[in-house]
């Protein structure tokens, strides 16, 4: 427990908050890497996921891709890309690796979000006279929003965690103080920074969980959709864990709202 006390002392000392390499600076760097990678991943993944979900073709491909992406070691990917693109491109290389990490959960979220909308809802919209585009924007997107946000939550989680590793190739972020602290044997620094990372990750996750709850249309939140889905699918033993974003969300996406 001494070590935790040392870490707290380190965290509270004013040095960490001033000058080059301060905690606030590292946190901002970390958040900016996370944000850029997430946005870029979403720009690519959401349209494709929506398209595949809407047309219903290519679902198995998404499942396979999500599984495959999980098997790729992100640390190795970062190093490989920096080697290939050159050190002056290290920011780009790292971003590419982070974006690649974020694409599968987002794509799977968009896909399963679309998929779980019952045919009857779409048919009803069509019966009301909505055009294809209207159906997409006024029905499918809002109803799929909770699952898409679930995918976003999974993507952000992966990216935030992996962004701790980019310090190894000379970038900033919160991982920097850990990677520096290990050889220096400054355990107050490594533990203190680890605590900050945990707080940041938890805060982001909580915000996105809240956003998911808030964005769920009232009707969906009441769980009607869940019943419809269960009736339609018939078999309960579906290998649901292979589809969609972060593992914990995989099941909930197919079952209840978080």
């Amino acid at each position: 427990m001494d070590l935790f006390l040392d870490a707290l002392v380190w965290l509270l000392s004013p040095e960490q908050y001033t000058g080059e390499g301060s905690l606030p600076q590292r946190t901002l760097e970390h958040l900016s890497y996370t944000a850029s990678a997430t946005v870029l991943a979403a720009l690519f993944a959401l349209p494709i996921g929506y398209f595949i979900g809407h047309t219903g073709k290519g679902g198995t491909w998404i499942v396979a891709m999500t599984g495959a992406a999980r098997a790729l070691p992100s640390f190795g990917l970062i190093l490989l890309l920096v080697l290939l693109l050159g050190v002056s491109q290290r920011v780009t290389a790292s971003l590419i690796a982070l974006v690649l990490l974020g694409i599968p959960p987002l794509m799977a979220g968009a896909y399963s979000g679309m998929q779980q909308i019952p045919r009857s809802t779409i048919d009803a919209a069509r019966a009301q006279g909505m055009t294809e585009w209207q159906i997409v924007w006024r029905v499918e997107v809002p109803v799929s929003l909770p699952l898409v946000l679930g995918g976003l939550r999974g993507a952000v989680l992966q990216i935030v965690a992996t962004a701790t590793l980019v310090a190894y190739v000379g970038l900033g972020g919160l991982g920097y103080d850990i990677i520096q602290g290990i050889p220096l044997r400054r355990f107050d620094q490594t533990i203190g920074t680890a605590l900050v990372i945990v707080v940041v990750a938890l805060a982001l996750d909580a915000m996105l969980a809240l956003a998911t709850r808030v964005a769920t249309p009232r009707g969906v939140r009441q769980g009607r959709l869940d019943d419809v889905r269960a009736r339609e699918s018939g078999s309960r033993s579906a290998p649901v864990a292979t589809v969609a974003s972060s593992p914990e969300k995989e099941i909930t996406q197919q079952r209840k709202n978080t």
Binding site: E20, G21, V82, G86, V87, S88, R90, A167, Y168, V169, G170, Y176, I179, Q180, I182, P183, L184, R185, R186
Partner: protein
């Protein structure tokens, strides 16, 4: 009930398999073979491999535990006797045990190190070969600013120093540069891509190990260090006292035969020719009559 049996059987099998494998993992080697370790640094691994093959050639049984990582990881192993022999560097190791040391010359450092080592560890003869931190600039930059020693950097602005992240906090890092030479630098933690960063212009001053073949390959200029900012750091085998006498006869001649240029050449074989440590070591031992 078949299902239950299958499940229990399988669970038992998996658990046993896991336990057996973890048991294998925990096996740290008996007292019989000499355990040679190395740092998480390819050059250090080559030297360790040379020690290992030389010992094997002399009839010892050797176990290798390479790439153990940083000092924090392997020194406890050395001190506890789990590892018996380890190639180290006098200056850096001395700084680890005595951060306040003022010794800088090679012999001074070696003498102090012998005293600073904990009970149970012995420094064998040191080698003329060095692999120490050194500050380098590109040839163009050196010519453009007439740089010969670190002191010549004093008047320049906008200098950026690159190296491992921990360099930022080392006594010979930015703080030491300012104090000893009056040189102000910004810091960029370029780590393993330091040389590339220097060549690409991302940084102006690079901490490159003196054994790195890329200094010669890219015509980098190593700035002289008249004020002794860096401690001399010669290759030195650290051995546990139990086996020190037994191995000294074999290892000391090897240390004597390893020259600074020789070490650079070994490193070149690893990076440029991409040869494995084992092959490089075998070749060197043969070429030097061991």
């Amino acid at each position: 009930m078949t299902m239950r049996k299958k499940m229990t059987g399988l669970a038992g099998l998996a658990l046993t398999a896991g336990l057996i494998m973890s048991g294998c993992a925990a096996d740290t080697g008996s007292d019989e073979p000499i355990v040679v370790g190395s740092q998480g640094y390819y050059s250090n691994e080559i030297i360790a491999e040379i020690y290992a093959q030389a010992l094997e050639g002399a009839g010892f049984e050797v176990e290798r535990q390479f790439q153990i990582g940083q000092r924090d990881a392997y020194l406890p192993e050395l001190e506890s006797g789990a590892v018996d022999l380890f190639p180290e560097y006098t200056g850096n190791l001395l700084q680890y045990y005595s951060p306040e040391t003022t010794a800088t010359q090679a012999d001074e450092v070696y003498a102090e190190l012998a005293g600073a080592l904990p009970e149970g560890l012995i420094a064998l003869d040191m080698s003329p070969a060095t692999d120490q931190d050194s500050y380098n600039v590109t040839a163009e930059f050196a010519t453009a600013n007439s740089l010969v020693s670190i002191a010549d950097l004093a008047g320049l602005d906008g200098l950026v120093l690159g190296g491992n992240p921990e360099l930022e906090e080392r006594p010979y890092g930015p703080a030491g540069l300012l104090e000893t030479y009056g040189v102000t630098v910004g810091f960029d933690a370029t780590g393993d891509v330091t040389v590339d960063a220097l060549l690409d212009g991302l940084i102006t001053l690079a901490n490159v190990y003196s054994g790195d073949p890329r200094i010669a390959e890219f015509g980098l200029v190593t700035l002289a260090d008249p004020e002794g900012l860096f401690l001399a750091s010669n290759v030195v085998p650290i051995a546990s006292s139990e086996i020190a006498d037994a191995v000294a006869e074999i290892i000391n001649p090897i240390s004597a035969a390893l020259t600074p240029e020789g070490l650079v050449a070994l490193n070149l074989q690893s990076t440029k020719d991409q040869m494995s440590a084992a092959d490089i070591a075998a070749e060197w031992l043969a070429a030097n009559g061991f």
